[in-house]
């Protein structure tokens, strides 16, 4: 299993760094295999022991969180991109190890409950649905959408656009689809884009917008929700599968947190040679809004949320579905007609 890591397994040859995802400090020429690659000159001073200077935002005064770190908003997308470039190669293995395989059950249930695809008998002119899977680089949700619509609903026209900000994740997705039965069809397309801004997708053109384990990494979640609202057709469905910051049961939550902050970065170190990316991932879960707050954000973007009660300011009650005692949650919304 350790053989999955080409980057950490080679000593540096005289020809230069062996991996594009490592970076070389301009000052001391040390090579770091870490994904946390500071982009500003000031931040590159950070790793020198003599004068550790904390990075301060230069262009923007607006800051946001990157895990527990505070970074300038303009930098967050780049840093997230670097994290996912680093984890792309072992993404599925690491997901299996971190969630003990349960992520497969979550994703299966997520797609099954959305029931993508239109059975041929229910419509006279079968067009198939247009699905947009955001932050879906490696294609595991998209593949499930296609399998479900093809095998369960007998719909061979439904297509998926897989969008991701990170080209390495998209490359993993392309590899997966190259060996799938959908390769000869035109049912899958890949789009490298930031979910906050999708100019190439027309408004009111998507039937189903899904984002699984992606939205907690977005710099401006509300903007991404607004963009989701724009591209969906009236009556279209927004569905989001995401980790929650806290479990409902306090004792289980204590155990879960210790697993997250102790075991997961350690597994990242041993399997993927990258403790920092996995530390970022668990910190980003911690920083994500609660289910009620997030449902409020979805409602504020204009969606109708089935099954919620109590309107008014702040979050909602109900209106989402907890999975595995609250480790993850599915949020759904419908664009009003």
């Amino acid at each position: 299993m350790a053989s999955f890591v080409p980057r950490a397994s080679k000593r540096l040859r005289l020809a230069g760094p062996s991996s594009p995802s490592s970076w070389v400090c301009n000052d001391c020429r040390r090579t770091f295999a870490s994904s946390i690659r500071p982009r500003q000159q000031q931040q590159q001073q950070q790793h020198h022991h003599q004068q550790p200077t904390p990075p301060h935002p230069s262009q923007d005064d607006k800051t946001t969180h990157f895990g527990f770190e505070t970074v300038s908003e303009s930098l967050k997308a780049g840093r997230v991109r670097d994290v996912f470039s680093s984890v792309a190669a072992n993404y599925d293995t690491m997901n299996d190890l971190m969630s003990l395989g349960i992520h497969r059950l979550w994703k299966d249930y997520f797609v099954r409950s959305l029931n993508p695809g239109i059975p041929p008998s229910t419509t006279s002119s079968p067009r198939g649905q247009k699905i947009l899977d955001i932050a879906g680089g490696t294609g595991d949700i998209a593949l499930r959408h296609l399998d479900h619509s093809t095998t369960i609903n007998n719909d061979h026209k439904t297509s998926v656009i897989i969008s991701d900000i990170n080209p390495e994740m998209l490359a993993e997705g392309m590899k997966r689809f190259a060996s799938s039965p959908y390769k000869p069809t035109n049912r899958v397309s890949f789009l490298e884009a930031n979910a906050e801004d999708l100019p190439t997708i027309e408004s009111n053109s998507i039937d189903l917008y899904t984002v699984a384990f992606g939205i907690r990494n977005f710099t401006h979640k509300q903007k991404a929700l607004a963009e989701a609202f724009r591209v969906l057709k009236p009556g279209g469905v927004f569905a989001c599968l995401e980790f929650t910051p806290n479990l409902s049961n306090p004792l289980l939550n204590a155990i879960y947190k210790r697993w997250s902050f102790g075991a997961i970065p350690l597994i990242g170190q041993v399997v993927a040679a990258d403790r920092d990316s996995y530390q970022y991932l668990v910190e980003s879960i911690e920083k994500f809004p609660s289910q009620a707050e997030f449902a409020g954000m979805i409602r504020d973007a204009g969606f109708l949320i089935p099954g919620h009660n109590s309107p008014g300011e702040g979050g909602l009650e109900g209106g989402w579905e907890d999975l595995t005692m609250g480790v993850a949650a599915i949020h759904k919304g419908i664009k009003p007609a």
Partner: protein
């Protein structure tokens, strides 16, 4: 004023810092003591030690796991001992005060190659060229809490290539194991001893060579040599290699690449002869 702790409690509190129950948990880590520092609880340290030991045995090219193994097994006794050995020596003390780092900026290969042939610097450059590596690959120390001990371990890691250079041993597993055996006898770091478990990965002939020639060489020289971590390599670049070896008390082992080449040719000759007699 708090009551004085009972005797058994006092015994627990006076254990060396590495064995004392940690005052923090996974969720309440203290701030780092130096930039790349990650304070680990005892459970995390133990788990990382075991998993990195297994991982690096399965894939010896995972230098980051070997690094993690060295950091998690360095306490309670061995890294403080190495630091004390540095403090007991005047050059070691200067190194601890100056904290020099070895990188390709501080060790410019182009300048080193220009040095006269029998100098340490030239031998270092020649060895790097022969093996096809550069000085940049050392992972930063992360799991050692004391900043000075972290530096000692970092210094050991960065000067490992110099030990290679003055003994001439190559980067192949056989050479690395010989160096590790030497370093175990010399520095007593547990990782160096544990990594000798990798002899199971050697081929039969290599293993035989290790137990007959290089192992005994390593133990003999590691024990009688001065602490190699106390060498201020940046100042010794123009010293004569032979003089340095004599000062330290290290004898050159047989050139491993030559020995292997000779054996390869012998085998090839034997195969040729066999083929001739069989085929005709």
């Amino acid at each position: 004023m708090p009551p004085s702790p009972s005797l058994p409690l006092r015994r627990i509190l006076t254990l060396p810092p590495a064995l004392r129950p940690r005052a923090f948990s996974i969720l309440s880590r203290p701030p780092p003591n130096y930039p790349s520092h990650v304070p680990l609880t005892n459970l995390e340290r133990g788990t990382l030690a075991i998993t990195s030991a297994i991982g690096s045995l399965l894939n010896p090219r995972r230098h980051d796991l070997i690094a993690a193994l060295s950091e998690t097994t360095a306490h309670p006794y061995f890294l403080p001992r190495l630091r004390r050995a540095m403090l007991a020596n005047s050059t070691g003390r200067r190194i601890l005060r100056d904290r020099p780092r070895i990188t390709s900026q501080s060790m410019r290969l182009e300048d080193l190659r220009k040095l006269p042939d029998n100098t340490v610097g030239r031998a270092y450059a020649a060895w790097l060229d022969r093996e096809g590596v550069t000085p940049d690959t050392r992972d930063p120390v992360r799991y050692v809490d004391d900043p000075e001990e972290a530096y000692v371990l970092q210094r050991y890691r960065e000067t490992h290539d110099f030990t290679h250079a003055i003994t001439g041993l190559p980067v192949i597993i056989e050479g690395e194991l010989a160096i590790k055996a030497f370093e175990f006898a010399n520095t007593l770091l547990p990782m160096t001893g544990l990594s000798l478990a990798a002899v199971v990965r050697l081929k039969k002939a290599e293993r035989a060579r290790f137990f007959e020639v290089y192992g005994p060489w390593a133990v003999r020289n590691g024990l009688r040599a001065e602490e190699v971590v106390n060498v201020y390599w940046e100042e010794e670049l123009e010293t004569d290699v032979g003089a340095l070896r004599e000062r330290l008390g290290i004898e050159m082992p047989p050139d491993l690449r030559e020995v292997r080449k000779v054996e390869r040719e012998k085998k090839r000759a034997e195969k040729e002869a066999e083929r001739k007699t069989m085929g005709g």
